[in-house]
Amino acid sequence: MEPQMNPLTRDLEPLTKAIDLRAYRQQVLASNIANADTPNYKARDFDFKTAMHNAMAGQQSGGLPLVTTSGGHIAGGGGAGQPGLQYRADTQSAVDGNTVDMDTERAQIADNAIQYEILTRLISDRFSGMRAALANN
């Protein structure tokens, strides 16, 4: 982490990382639903907890952090990469090799959308708080 980070944005950091991951997940889930009738398509998703942990640690999931052996080295964490996708375990096998379970995907997309909205509210609330603190009355 940078030593002089703006204290206003520091509080927002976890929320923005979480909302980025939620948006990313929404797109993965949309791909699953779009390909519900594509032969041999395998439904994919990622573990949010691990991805969030990695995002906060500033490293790509599965990636290794750079080792620093001298004070002049820059600690590279592999950047804030996208989380690694994993195949969902299929519930009912289909003849065409497709593993998209529409019920699961619909439930997950609804869940993810709510979580995303919660995050937008939380970020909004942080701004309201800052505004209240800045008000001079």
């Binding site: 909302i19 980025d20 948006a23 990313y24 929404q26 797109q27 993965v28 889930l29 949309a30 791909s31 639903i33 779009a34 390909n35 519900a36 009738d37 594509t38 032969p39 398509y41 996208q82 996708l85 529409m102 619909r106 997309i109 609804a110 959308a113 995303y116 909205e117 937008t120 970020i123 909004s124 701004f127 309201s128």
Partner: protein, 137 residues
């Protein structure tokens, strides 16, 4: 922004599903066309879907495209009708290999998938609208 990819992915799926519906309409309309443009009985058309990377997120967002439209390989339906001018020397008429029940289920499946993709798109739109409202409250 990854939520924009949802629009691309879902719209590609909607295009693919409407092409499938188109093929169903063509098959059902020609279920009794014993002579087509090439002089042979009409052959049922089936669309083949394929997952294709879409948007700027690389592998995470995969849309759908129609790889090809294939002729159904099943044999024509032989109906004994010696009075028909198209009958062969044994009195059988070759009817199109359209399976009406299969086409009806295809139609329902295509329309359901289309609807689901519209919903996914609407969800993404709601999320983006709420993102725009951050800090306004």
């Amino acid at each position: 922004m990854s939520l924009f990819n949802v629009f691309q992915v879902s719209s590609s799926a909607m295009t693919a599903q409407s092409m499938r519906l188109n093929a169903v309409a063509s098959n059902l309309a020609n279920a009794d066309s014993i002579v087509s443009a090439d002089g042979q009985p009409y052959r049922a058309k089936q669309v083949v879907f394929e997952a294709t990377p879409m948007g700027d997120a690389g592998d995470a967002s995969r849309g759908v495209r129609v790889r090809q439209v294939v002729d159904d390989a099943s044999p024509p339906r032989m109906v004994y009708d010696p009075k028909n001018p198209a009958a062969d020397e044994k009195g059988y008429v070759a009817f199109p290999n359209v399976n009406v029940v299969e086409e009806m289920t295809n139609m329902i499946s295509a329309s359901r998938s289309y609807q689901t993709n519209v919903e996914v798109m609407n969800t993404a739109k709601t999320l983006m609208m709420h993102t725009l409202q951050i800090g306004q409250g």
